[in-house]
């Protein structure tokens, strides 16, 4: 079985790898590029732990054929922080106790980023809708929703 060359932008940096046929983007990111921030949860599209942004749009990396991102820009949680400085969403998650075991957190943060990038002051209902594809099994969703609202531009989020 021949491998397919794959080039894309990973958190602003060009990467090139060879992938086996049928390999999903999550495996390519974790095993070939070494970015462990997207998590494997269900492999079925039900949990959202593997969420990444592809050209700014929220996608499930476990259901994305790796070679379809050739030439595109993939953003993961690893690219969210700016050097030692946390992203406002990360800071809000920390301050609002929005993570317990932390397994869903990368997916929650990417889903929230996709929302805030196009809607800087979402309503609570919009935040709930945004994370509806992400399952959290420990905190309950309230602290996560509160954290996203707190991170929304200047705390001016509408009720």
């Amino acid at each position: 079985m021949t491998k397919t060359p794959l080039q894309f932008r990973h958190n602003g940096r060009d990467v090139a790898v060879f992938v086996d046929g049928g390999v999903n983007l999550l495996v390519a990111l974790r095993e070939l590029i070494g970015d462990m921030t997207p998590k494997f949860g269900c492999g079925q599209g039900g949990c959202g732990a593997c969420s990444v942004l592809i050209d700014g749009e929220l996608h499930l990396s476990c259901l994305t054929l790796a070679e379809t991102v050739n030439g595109r820009a993939v953003e993961t949680l690893d690219g969210l922080k700016d050097g030692p400085n946390l992203h406002p969403l990360q800071r809000a998650f920390m301050e609002q106790f929005a993570a317990q075991c932390g397994y869903c957190t990368p997916g929650m943060l990417m889903a929230a980023k996709a929302l805030l990038d196009r809607n800087p002051s979402p309503t609570r209902a919009e935040v709930i809708e945004t994370i509806s594809g992400n399952i959290c099994r420990c905190t309950g969703y309230e602290p996560i929703i509160n954290a996203v609202l707190a991170a929304a531009s200047g705390g001016r989020a509408r009720a």
């Binding site: 079985m1 397919t4 086996d20 046929g21 049928g22 390999v23 999903n24 492999g43 079925q44 599209g45 959202g48 969420s51 749009e57 929220l58 996608h59 499930l60 476990c62 259901l63 994305t64 054929l65 070679e67 379809t68 889903a111 996709a114 929302l115 709930i128 809708e129 945004t130 994370i131 509806s132 594809g133 992400n134």
Partner: protein
Amino acid sequence: MPVTVRTFASFSEAASALSSDRSARYLGGGTLVMRALNEGDVSISTVVRATDRALMRIDVASSRVTIGAGVTFAKILAERELTFLHAPARSIGGPAVRNMGTVGGNLFAPNPYGDFTVALLALDATVSVQGGLGARDMPIEEFLQSRERQSGALVLAVSCQRPAGADAFRYRKIARIKPKGGSVITLAAHLPVSGGRVSGARIALGSMAATQIRARAAERALEGRPLDDSAISAAAAAAAEGVSPADNALGSAWYRREIVGVHLRRLLSGLE
């Protein structure tokens, strides 16, 4: 197990590749085929893709809309001319699934999925298919009845008449989790009214048989009558006729038969 991925620039080349290989599956948004690969489905040895922009088109004419098979639910939700399809599109997945899942793929989605197809069935959609023998249009019912044999054919587009008004098309999905989750029952109804009476009603049900089906007895109960309490009661009483639901984690077959009439009554009464 590695599979061979074949990517084509034109849909006709992809269709030939698909029809000539029994173990090939067409990859649309990935929410069905990648899931199967992740679960180790060894029946798939080849994945066929097409990057053809023709599959991504939405054509809106005054009375008829045509939606390319590769159009995602997010694209439908962004299209103001397709507001009548926003409720079914919004009822699918979370935002990531709606950014990926396609109208064409939904035609193949097994229970408890395939909600968009329930809407298309009520709207008497036409499915354009490119097979080994060329392209043809078929009524969605015929497509669904032969769905198991359609995996070698490439769906190019679906088209349907635009409903006469916002009230003429109704949709309701019953799920355990809001706002997202597999379907316990999905219902859609197209209710054209002529001279105050229902004429040509089509009611479609999801998760009530192996594929999406029409509730023909309920349709007959409405035909030629005003949409009043007595007609709605007659349709609700007939809702379970001809259904063959299955047990799954979301609900038993018994439960689905018990509640389908309740939800059809709510749908027809315009209740939330």
